[in-house]
Subunit: 209 residues, 4 copies
DNA sequence: GATGAATGAGGTTTCATTCAT
DNA sequence: TATGAATGAAACCTCATTCAT
């Protein structure tokens, strides 16, 4: 029943192959949450995916390539999302505070959902891997540029520096939320502290009492 | 006749041993700047230090232990320094802006000087290593608590959250200064953006024009 | 079409793997006869088997595991054999002496054929290895219990002690036959001395002149 | 205060050296009871003796040499003792049974007291070490020759074979007494079973009821 | 497409052993 | 005499990676 239709789609690995590839990526994701990136062995991924190492090599050149694929998927979905939080908001007058909170919440939620991949992207970038740097740029560049656009309106602003500082802060706080809470900050306070900095930086105004 | 004096010194490695240990630590430091942490092999450290792997194992159980020693030394020196930047400043009136700039500069300078160790501390902590987490806490906890003390005076503040957000921001921006500059922010703008957030968070006041 | 049959066989290593495993076991056996157990290196076994150390580790966790497999095979074959020498004999009247000689000869022959494995079993057991103790128990327990059964008939017997003493004696003399002969006992005399003790212990009767 | 007297005794390692040597031998003995022979490291012995490895090498070429020294001391004391049990006994008539029991008890007691050294002697001999074989011969040869002398009187005896079998049996049962008891034989039964064999072999007579 | 099997290559780690003090 | 310190040499063991099926 599939012979005919196959002929059309068949370039690149066929459906079975695609499934295997998917299983491998999912296995990689799963392990990423349990293990330090550098401890992930091809054997483990293969076992987790229910295949053999040899099969892994039919789809990826090495572990990094698989992880990169995951990171890439994530960045493509998340970058625009983060940007839209900034862009789609109304930063004038009394809407600004709500917008700031929304942005803070958005970053926190994204890091909550993708902590392990995000960590690897940071790590690999810091270690000088350019493929990951590119992903990171796509991911954080999106909201950063969105900030540039809106900050621009504030007088006395240095748009790139301000936007960069905001995104750095948001990313780092979101990544270490748990630690900060253990240290003494509550979840509610954190989002407010973030929002306060966002609002002040974007609009120059202080938060409402 | 020697019993008494011996008892005091005898347990520690003698001078020669101390020198070797030092050489190994220095070699570790050096390599840390050139290589991803996880790629550092005992063999390499030993060679760099001009000894053999066997000798390395007389002083450290593994690479991590050597790196930890370095991180520890650094944290002991740098933590108090960062704290003093905050504590020793006058945050009242027209001195606040200068204080904010000094803090921003301080963080940037510290990261400039110890980038590679700081990176490893982050990485290892993120991967769940508790010994590094302890170091990290000593390092960032010092300025964080200093911020808590001064932020406390501001009305409507959430001292722990505010302090945590500040330190996160400073650490992350300092760590990624280079990237931010390549992206479009100048060095001068970055310190001003940081200082603006610091001043607003600590005192509630805006920066002077 | 293959689901059903696969399920049965699939878990075990295929024929090729079985062959390799066999080659490794044979190599282990061979070396066991030439080297002290503790001096057997994985490298040597692998070389003797015509493979690499890495291959060895696909089949055994360490040298001990390979040796244990050999010991196990041997014990499964030899234990019942020794037991049958005792059980299948007629110990009444004039058949007893022939039976005793047969048992003595059996032990000597078994030790002749498996000297090196038997030595390792003893050594490892003495050093407290429980897996080898279990093998040893299977091996010597079989004839020992056979003796218990027949000794039982003798009046004034202490079946377990008598059987234990007999098996100990047989195992030790068989293991050191060569040394005893160098010292002055002939092969023919030894089997007779053993047989004399066996007959007396099992039946209470003395050997015929 | 010691200058004068020293001059007389000083050849060979002086008193201090002798003490150190003794400490090393004692440490070796101690470890021998806790560890498989092949796992004894020079470092461990040195630490146990409260010195350094370098010191060990001033007295022994390797671990084996130290163990050999211990084995040698033991054999010199124990060999004659075992022989005297046989030689000094009265094997005639009604004294024979008591003599047999005394011999059995003697072997058991000796193995109880020196189990670990005796085990090493066996092991090393089996592995072909001639220095240990020599010790073993001194140790077991003594009682064996004593048996030869007394067995000689029995008609139809094969003195060397009989003696060899007796000593083998005694040594092996004594060495594995614990195992045999766990298996079901009581201590009291074992000495009687042994004595029965001894008496029958030496005198041709059966034990009294 | 999938995978059992094999292995080169390389880092880890442990010790026995030797000096210089 | 005693010993801190250093190290050569060996095994260990693990993986990434490749074929042949």
């Amino acid at each position: 029943m599939s012979e005919a239709s196959d002929a059309v789609v068949e370039r690149l690995p066929g459906r079975r192959g695609q499934q295997t590839r998917r299983r491998l990526l999912d296995a990689t994701s799963t392990l990423l949450e349990a293990l330090p990136y550098r401890d992930m062995k091809v054997v483990d991924i293969a076992r987790e995916a229910g295949t053999s190492p040899a099969t892994f090599y039919q789809y990826f050149a090495d572990v990094e390539e698989a992880v990169l694929a995951i990171a890439d998927e994530m960045a493509s979905a998340v970058g625009p999302l983060l940007a839209s939080l900034v862009t789609a908001s109304d930063w004038t007058e009394d809407q600004g505070w709500a917008a700031s909170l929304r942005v803070a919440d958005g970053f926190i939620a994204v890091w909550e959902a993708h902590r392990s991949v995000l960590r690897v992207i940071d790590l690999a970038t810091d270690e000088g891997d350019d493929r990951f740097r590119e992903v990171r740029t796509r991911l954080l560049g999106a909201p950063a540029e969105a900030f540039v656009a809106v900050v621009h309106r504030r007088s006395g602003a240095a748009p790139f520096a301000d936007a960069g500082v905001l995104v750095s802060m948001l990313a780092h706080v979101a990544a270490h939320r748990e630690g900060l809470e253990q240290w003494g900050a509550t979840s509610a306070e954190l989002r407010q502290s973030l929002a306060r900095v966002i609002l002040a930086t974007v609009t120059g105004r202080a938060a409402p009492d």
